[in-house]
Symmetry: C2
Subunit: 256 residues, 2 copies
């Protein structure tokens, strides 16, 4: 099995290292990841400047590594189309430090790395540790290894990916359950903080208090809160078929 | 009516100027756009550095302008949450130079600007001129003005946006029809071109020949090819309900 790993926290992040170590037991691993943190990069790609891929060694490992001066999406594209010997069997993105829940998935570099895999017709999984503090990625990495086994056994429908969030429980115990969830809605109170620089010019810092406005049972947000591992199947053909019928009734030919 | 305009080609682009001029007839216009081209930025946002919003004047216009050192998504967030006097009635992104069709919409800064409007509960439209050469944005801008009238009259469902592509016809004639379409699939043959710099180090340019692999009747791609204006309703709750049922049958609790 040929496995491509990427992330958005950068190739030096502990989460990607735990993932690499776990997945090496399954096959040949390539790690192609940003040379520095690229959180919240969405599906941005780099078209106006060239990309460089620097060789990285992992002590005591046969995995091949490349640090790329681009976004997570650049890394997966470059990996599949230029660096790997052939198309990988699976793309695994993560393990992200911090949750990727609800509306987050649209901004997330981790989910975008997996989406880039899907766009290139490779089954893909995004994995996040739902904690900003814990550095214990081992259980999440082991779970991911077993999940990769299941996914490659069953196969996945085209144009889909799995978004996985693993909670960290206070007493160090294992999650009780795997919940197959839908996306909740997670909004941020983006109170931009206005400041003045030493020359008197204004600037803004993006704040971002989380307001979980839709955490009903069945959502990824509720599931992680309950200490469960959340697995959300995502599909990126974003055409809205219901709304199409409404717009047809507007008779837009009239305004040509 | 309070209108927020943004784009990804930058505040100096001719497409955004044509749009501003057309929409000023409908109400108060704010233009909050990147200070330089930010194509293919996806829904990236800027959280690790501060944002600046420089005041811009438009000759002979009462519209207010801000050039922001961020992504299209940053611009719309900052506009709605810090620069505008209150929530706008509509966000209009564009007019993009070049089409945004099929899979493009996931990478597009123009569509992401509209999506950011939707995330902030504002009805939003993304508009692109389906030509890389033509600088005649006037008809597309007029059509958009009329479309804004229709949209604000009818309202739009939550979490949806309209993605509009206006073709440029060879003989200068008007499009024959407005087609309400679904997304086609548009893939790029990303032949990364490997080069060596003067110091012998390798680097890669992302190429990108378009391969329209799904341009069946009813898709946005087919419609623009036929000289029609394509209007595609998009919905960004990307949960895949069908795949959810499949994953439930995998009994993932077994691999906890």
């Amino acid at each position: 099995m040929l496995i491509l790993i990427s992330n958005d926290d950068g190739i030096q992040a502990p989460g990607i290292d735990a993932l690499r170590a776990a997945l090496e037991e399954l096959g040949d691993v390539y790690v192609v990841a940003p040379d520095r943190p690229r959180s919240a990069s969405g599906l941005g790609i780099t078209i106006h400047k060239p990309l460089r891929a620097e060789n990285i060694q992992f002590p005591g490992s046969k995995a091949k590594g490349y640090a790329v001066n681009g976004t997570p999406s650049d890394c997966v594209k470059l990996g599949i189309q230029a660096l790997l010997p052939c198309k990988p069997d699976i793309v695994v993105a993560g393990i992200n430090q911090g949750p990727n829940l609800g509306t987050d998935v649209l901004y997330s570099g981790t989910v975008s790395a997996a989406l880039e895999g899907v766009i290139n017709d490779v089954p893909s999984i995004a994995v996040s540790l739902a904690s900003w503090e814990s550095s214990d990625f081992d259980y999440a990495a082991e779970f991911t290894r077993r999940l990769v086994g299941v996914v490659t056994g069953h196969g996945m429908p085209e144009e889909t990916l799995l978004n996985v969030n693993v909670p960290v429980l206070k007493n160090g115990s294992k999650p009780s359950r795997v919940a197959v969830t839908r996306l909740g809605k997670r909004r941020y109170e983006n109170t931009f903080e206005k400041r003045r620089d030493p020359r008197g010019k204004e600037y803004y810092w993006m704040g971002g208090e989380v307001m979980d406005i839709m955490a009903e049972p069945g959502t990824d947000i509720a599931s992680v809160r309950n200490g469960e591992i959340s697995v959300t199947p995502l599909f990126f053909d974003v055409t809205d078929n219901n709304f199409m019928n409404m717009v047809r009734e507007w008779n837009l030919d009239k305004i040509l």
